[in-house]
């Protein structure tokens, strides 16, 4: 393992929500940057799941515990309360069954940390309104017929889902595309308009 590296800003925001020394599962961990950071900087027992074989190989070859698998099918194989935090970063919109994945996350873990691109951002709304076509932005940059993001939602939608399924939002914030914190955390309606990503810390009620 190489020494501590500077991690992506959006990952730093997530790491900020994790208590030191926790048991963490990062779902969709890519080559494991966040796991490495949590292990080294926060003495966590951090592991990952990643669907892409090449990323998995890179992570393991880097000395990180990562399992190849799909969030939709792999989470069910973990026992109840195995972790303190399960993280799903920019992946919820791409899973087959987002609601079930969330349910599994909060079954195997006390907390869930979820980030997703906000489909309610003003630029997307404006494009849809003026052009009448599916929006294309830096974050939403694939055509509708080939995007892996099959379940887009807005920050408001996500609040509604949490309420419906009985999840407590312990913390949340809206960030821009680079993951810099945007000043919208007190105002969900404004966050939904100006935040490019939503980041939520949940637990069961």
């Amino acid at each position: 393992m190489s020494g501590e590296r500077k991690i992506r800003v959006d990952l730093a925001l997530i790491a900020g929500m994790v208590q030191p020394g926790s048991r963490v599962l990062d779902v969709g961990c890519a080559e494991g940057q966040l796991i490495e950071h949590l292990t080294q900087a926060k003495t966590c027992d951090a592991r990952g799941i990643e669907i892409d074989m090449e990323e998995v190989q890179r992570a393991i070859a880097h000395g990180l515990p990562v399992m190849q698998g799909d969030a939709d099918t792999e989470l069910v194989t973990y026992p109840d309360h195995a972790f303190d935090y399960v993280i799903l970063s920019r992946t919820l919109q791409a899973v087959e069954k987002p609601r079930e994945v969330l349910r599994q996350m909060l079954r195997i873990s006390t907390h869930a940390i979820v980030s997703f691109p906000n489909f309610g951002h003003w630029s997307l709304r404006l494009q849809l309104l003026t052009r009448g076509r599916m929006p294309m932005t830096a974050g939403w940059n694939r055509m509708w017929y080939e995007t892996p993001n099959i379940h887009p939602c807005t920050i408001k939608d996500f609040f509604a889902l949490c309420e419906m399924d009985g999840y407590v939002v312990e913390d949340w914030l809206a960030a821009d595309e680079q993951g810099l914190r945007a000043p919208w955390r007190r105002f969900p309606r404004l966050a939904n308009l100006f935040g490019e990503q939503g980041l939520f810390l949940l637990r069961k009620a």
Partner: protein, 384 residues
Amino acid sequence: MRGRMDQTPAGTDFPHQSVTFPEGVALDCGRVLPSVTVAYRTYGSLNAGKSNAILICHALTGDQYVAEQNPETGRPGWWNSVVGPGAAIDTEKYFVICANVLGGCMGSTGPRSPHAEKPGALWGTDFPVITIDDMVRVQKRLVEHFGIGKLFAVVGGSMGGMQVLSWAVQFPEMVFAAVPIAAAYYHSAQNIAFHEIGRQAIFADPCFRNGNYWAEGVRPERGLAVARMTAHITYVSEEALTQKFGRKLQNAEGLSTLGEQFAVESYLQYQGSSFVQRFDANSYLTITKATDLFDMAAEHGGALADAFRGVKARFLLVSFSSDWLFPTAQSRAIARALNHAAVNVSFVEVQSGKGHDAFLLDEPDFHATLRGFLAGCAEHAGLA
């Protein structure tokens, strides 16, 4: 294939490095082997804390000569590409041990050892039925013989991977990291079926003489060769065979029913005939039976995850995409059951067209993965 083989029986009196445990071992079948000899090789040096030992478990027809020429057969070390100075299993960092399995024919106690109950005779087919767990119990004796309380890692492919699983489950306190490669937690009906063809071929050989062929100065070479030919097909992928041979003709002239026409035929025959030079038929029967009997879930009430309760080792599971003998689904099932038991597990399927044997061959992605996993574990074990 048709010529006479060298009559020196495989696994006779060659002076392999070994240690004998006169107190013997109780086997799963209920019988007791009164004395057990384990032939082994080591590479690298054991550190002062005896914390850098890696045990390598060999596959069905492997041996203890992992990283050097086998002095009896002249064959190069079977894992030269993985074990050695600077290799993925780095003998400059780790103390590597490999033992010939119980039931083998390269110096460890097996069917060719003196019969415990009939003075002057050899065991032959009287040799007790052994299991993967028995093999591991005997390896444990060797590990303790070195004064090692905890192995840094246990690594093995195929049947070696079964032994790795058995190690982690039987002796959880003695294994820091476990790496089953191209492994399975039970032998499937298809696996058993292929083995049975091989065994039947050996039985059908008139030179088998009920397993007492040594006494009569013959060997069931045809039968053992056919067994190897059948098994060899299961070790490679269709893609690999097609790439290597396709429908290439070996002998275009003189078409006849008896002669071989296709390149793949003479390749298989070569595989068979070279195998009988180095392997003993009774050992083959004993060890194939041991793998057939392996079913880790059944031994623990049917749920694999229950077998893994109490497992402490960190795991790396590696499968190969074109392996149809122990396919990826097997490794994935093991990984999931380990997850269920809250064990720290890494799992990856390496893309390879080479089939089951890929674990023995030059697969840089696999080697890099193994090296990195061990390095990460070394850090956690305070070895780095």
